[in-house]
Amino acid sequence: MSRNPEAESAADIYPGTLAPPVVRFEKVSMRYGAGPPVLHDVSFDLASGSFHFLTGASGSGKTTVLRLIYLGDRATGGRVELMGRDVATLGRRERPALRRRIGVVFQEFRLLSHLSVFDNAALGPRIAGRKPASYRADVVELLAWVGLRDRLHAMPDALSGGEKQRLAIARAVVNRPDILLADEPTGNVDPAIALRILRLLTELNRVGTTVLIASHDEDLVARAGKPVLHLSDGRLSRFDPAARESPQ
């Protein structure tokens, strides 16, 4: 497969990395129905263990990029590769296994309101068919990590915005995914909580999870000092690998 000249490769950003990118977009286009194109020839690679922000104005195509990565949509043009697999060739039965390697956090949390904090966080192992006794301790530990150890049996409606987002992060990472996608994860929380969430995501990245955060919070992006993919009218206008250091 030829390299995409427009995309920065994993080796460019992380010299010495030989592993194939966990996410590769090659001239990806997307339009919904007969509507105007949402993405035009977008190309980029995300190396394993990298941390990127996906920025752009509202409607620039950030969410669409995330949807294509978490298999929520199919690209209408170009090629999307995940963990070395061309998603267009994935059979319907293969998709769930790939999805378990991707965690997703939404701005509006998308918690299941009829399930407790613990049951929300335990969704992944439960769907994977694990017995409760086998995942109980792991989930409690995970909830302790996001600061919800004492809210195990609370219902989502009783949580604050920050708690909901931390629960959403716990749910997204409970299967130890290779990639964590977050769509405006700090959009509904105050700045202090936003920093706390950013810290959680950074910790996850430190243990090897590839992180891609869609955000238009310029302060947060600047604070993080991470590479930025910038979308403008559905085109990737900037791929900034310069700021690679994680915030302290």
Binding site: I102, H114, S116, I127, P132, R136, L152
Partner: protein
């Protein structure tokens, strides 16, 4: 930690209370009630037809015409004596003039007929249920004895009753099929609506790695359980109505037409299971089809 989870069990992934669940329960219960009544009614109609058929097949009538040298009563008595000796006949009774007059009174009125009008006499025959005599054998015996008589074996009436019974049976089966199809259609519609209303939940489950089969199974179990519960309610109501008819309707025209036996009340018992099965299949097929169209 174990104390915190002492009474914990994973909550159902589909919310227990769903919009429209009560309406669906009511519709399935009504359909179950109708299906159960159809089953009971079908069995009762079959029983009534069998009873009528047995009465008709187990008897025959002979119309005896007296010869010039005989009185009608003597000819009838002789015919009864001859027929009683035929194999396959349990009993033969000559009906006297009063019975013959009574039988034709419904056609000619209650006034007595002039004495010189030749009223044929009748011989009522009870046939052996195990090996009933054939009409031809009865006619042959009469002929051999020199009695002028016509054997009416009630066969055409019995055939009509059996046709009526078969029609009633097919009607009941048809009704059950239509109700089952209606239940399936209602469940399919409800499953589609439920899936549409829970699109967010379905997406979250997909993102958490759920297969289409896993999600379809959730809806399948939910609708099967609802249908089973509604089926129990509908069947119980039908059993109650039929039992009341059996207990308090004796002697009424409806009870005579549909003689419900206590054992018939067991007919609806499989219905909740059937309803659950229909619901499970309808929900599974519907949800599978919808999910297959999703990205």
């Amino acid at each position: 930690m174990s104390a915190e989870f002492a009474n914990w069990w994973p909550a159902p992934l589909l919310p227990r209370r769903d919009g429209g669940a009560a309406s669906l329960f009511f519709v399935i219960a009504v359909l179950s009630f109708l299906a159960s009544l159809s089953a009971i009614g079908g069995l009762a109609a079959q029983r009534a037809a069998d009873g009528w058929k047995d009465q008709l097949i187990g008897s025959a009538t002979v119309i005896v015409r007296a010869s010039a040298s005989d009185t009608p009563d003597a000819a009838a008595a002789r015919a009864a004596e001859v027929l009683a000796g035929v194999r396959g006949v349990s009993e033969a009774r000559a009906l006297d003039k009063a019975r013959a007059d009574a039988l034709i009174a419904r056609f000619v009125g209650p006034e007595p007929l002039p004495a010189d009008v030749p009223i044929p006499r009748l011989v009522a025959i009870d046939l052996d249920a195990a090996a009933p005599a054939k009409p031809a054998a009865l006619a042959a015996a009469l002929k051999a004895a020199g009695v002028d008589g016509t054997v009416e074996d009630h066969g055409p009436w019995a055939a009509q009753i059996m046709r009526g019974a078969a029609l009633a049976r097919w009607l009941a089966i048809g009704l059950l099929t239509v109700i089952a199809a209606a239940a399936g259609a209602v469940i399919a519609f409800a499953a589609r609506q439920g899936l549409s209303a829970r699109r967010d939940l379905v997406e979250v489950l997909h993102l958490a790695g759920a297969t289409d089969g896993f999600i379809a199974r959730l809806f399948q179990l939910r609708f099967a359980r609802t249908a089973a519960q509604a089926g129990i309610v509908g069947a119980a109501a039908a059993i109650g109505v039929a039992a009341a008819l059996r207990q308090f309707g004796a002697g009424q025209s409806l009870a005579a037409l549909l003689p419900v036996a206590w054992t018939d009340l067991a007919a609806p018992l499989p219905w909740p299971l059937i309803a659950a099965l229909i619901a499970a299949i309808a929900a599974r097929v519907t949800v599978d089809a919808v999910l297959k169209r999703s990205p």
